[in-house]
Symmetry: none
DNA sequence: CATGAATGAGTGTTCATTCAT
DNA sequence: TATGAATGAACACTCATTCAT
């Protein structure tokens, strides 16, 4: 059962996300955050020792939620290409539907708030995808002479641009375009 | 009378870049900027009417410099693949060697400082690359059934990730890796 | 939670009056005002949105207090000359005892802070006195061939000079002088 | 012959008057003054050691000009009432036609810029008028039992209000009104 | 625990004054 | 002499944080 207080913290996170996506990480003030989440400024300091801690915990919260979504529905029993596509689409969908989370994670990442420790944690986000790539190599389906990193970066960068374009510009993702995009990616990495 | 020293403006831009790349766009204060560029705060207001104008002009300055670098050495007389690779490497090199410029352009783009007008200007950065893509299609070398936009995004996203990884992580670009990266990109888009 | 202390607002007004009467309206700085009224600068902005609003509200406050004092003790049942003298003395006393209020009202009136709307409000200060003048005409006691305005200005200007002289110079008002001053005014306007 | 430099100083005075009458004494900045008078800020500091000195000298300049105008055309050979009226009208005309000078003199008088010494100088402005009053008493035309000061204040205050009303409000002085105003004043002081 | 008034250091900007030309 | 770029202290105002209730 979700405790009352836990719910309040989530409310604050969501309000924070909204303010940040509208005005950037610098646009978040404790007063504004309090107003939007319907609590008093003093109350924020009961749940978070400081603005810094608020950001830290917010980062962990959304990083984990993102991670969960990436591998959703992935089943190692299904054929590799099916699984890879699932991850590809998961990432794209996540970044479109939860765009403000992505924006926050990236802005936080380049802010004075991030710590070394958290920097390391960010790496963990890649692990599950790396596993899928390794499997593709084992199954002799994707290029063996290319680093895992490079393959990862090629795919992730593509998806990222597609999603950002969808959210902020006229170029919208449709099922057909998703199909073509994945085909492009496949052509790139396939053996 | 001392005459206005417009070299000072570039000094200010560079100091701004440094502060922003270290602390994010919110980390740039007029006092800090003055200190780092070795002038008094009041002096900044001789050259820029406000912090907002400073950002606007800084944006234009670095956007133009970036644009110039992208097409450097591109010669339409050379074969298409040679030309495309030049653009690919230009972009990668630019983003590595002038990483803080890229960071600034992106942070500014998501800040409350950007105006509609400038938003439109940003689009212009893509034009030259689009032209190259169109040529590839005319020469029947790259896939005809894929939007220019998608091809552009796939390549740009890849390069972007490679460069950021190079600058902020352990994964460094070497001539061999650049070769392989371009080969991957080529496999993706070639007919 | 501490509740807003509106007594604090009056403290601020008084501190403002003191600073203005000493250094002119330009001599009032928010920092100085905070120091003199014993609060932090930030606190001023809890009670007033801006320096401009502070002045606006301060103006209304002192204008109303002044107005109240002008007609104090005036009773239409008493004979006209008694009533007129009461108003005359009220105005003189007010301007002597609350000289800094008068100074503020006048300085504000000539400052860039005043608005059209408030300009109109200032006119209201004259109304009660005009009524007294009209009564004198009806009772055939004061000159009928002179505008109300001119009669008003003659009396008000005289009182004003007397009070300012009393406060800032050696020429002090005494009961005898007040008597003589009113007699002079009476000689001027009587039929 | 007026030297070139002296002309520049006067230009500065006039520009100052204009700025002050528009925005109050606090609205005068050295930069604005330089702009309006068509010189550089640095040049102002060749002619005036500081803003304070500028005000001091400006005050003396306009005080003297005012003084000159008050007694203009007064001829002790003419009958007393004629002479008194001339002074009355001179003062009224001066304050209407050179209203911004009057505003400056008064604002300066209540500013942190005025010195004790200048305060004393201000008194001198009254002397010529006092002489006229004394003559009226000698000629047994005006009340003997009233102080010179009080008679002076009554007249000056009246004129002042009339002029200010004329300049800033709808109530305009006309030859007829001037006639009536002087008659009122005469009724007040006459024996 | 919850509130929002209170705090004062810090922000962007202005301004009297100085100084190199 | 004349210029206006350069300076830095001071201004109005904001904001993370504390504290009385």
């Amino acid at each position: 059962m979700r405790s009352k207080d836990y719910g309040k913290v989530e409310l604050v996170y969501e309000a924070g996300l909204e303010l940040i996506s509208r005005e950037g990480i610098a646009g978040l003030t404790m007063k504004g955050l309090a107003a939007r989440s319907g609590v008093a400024t003093g109350t924020l300091y009961i749940y978070f020792r400081s603005k810094e801690e608020l950001f830290h915990r917010m980062y962990l919260y959304y990083r984990n939620r993102s991670l969960d979504r990436f591998m959703q529905g992935y089943d190692p029993v299904e054929p590799f290409r099916i699984g890879l596509k699932k991850v590809f689409v998961n990432y794209l969908t996540h970044r479109i539907e939860h765009h403000s989370e992505s924006i926050f994670l990236e802005q936080y990442y380049r802010s004075p708030y991030i710590t070394e420790e958290q920097n390391a944690l960010a790496e963990a986000m890649k692990h599950p995808v790396y596993e899928v790539i390794k499997r593709g190599k084992r199954e002799m389906l994707i290029k063996n002479d290319i680093d895992d990193e490079m393959l990862f970066l090629a795919m992730i960068g593509f998806v990222r641009e597609l999603a950002d374009e969808h959210v902020t510009k006229q170029y919208k993702m449709t099922p057909e375009r998703i199909e073509k995009a994945f085909q492009l990616a496949w052509d790139m990495i396939k053996m």
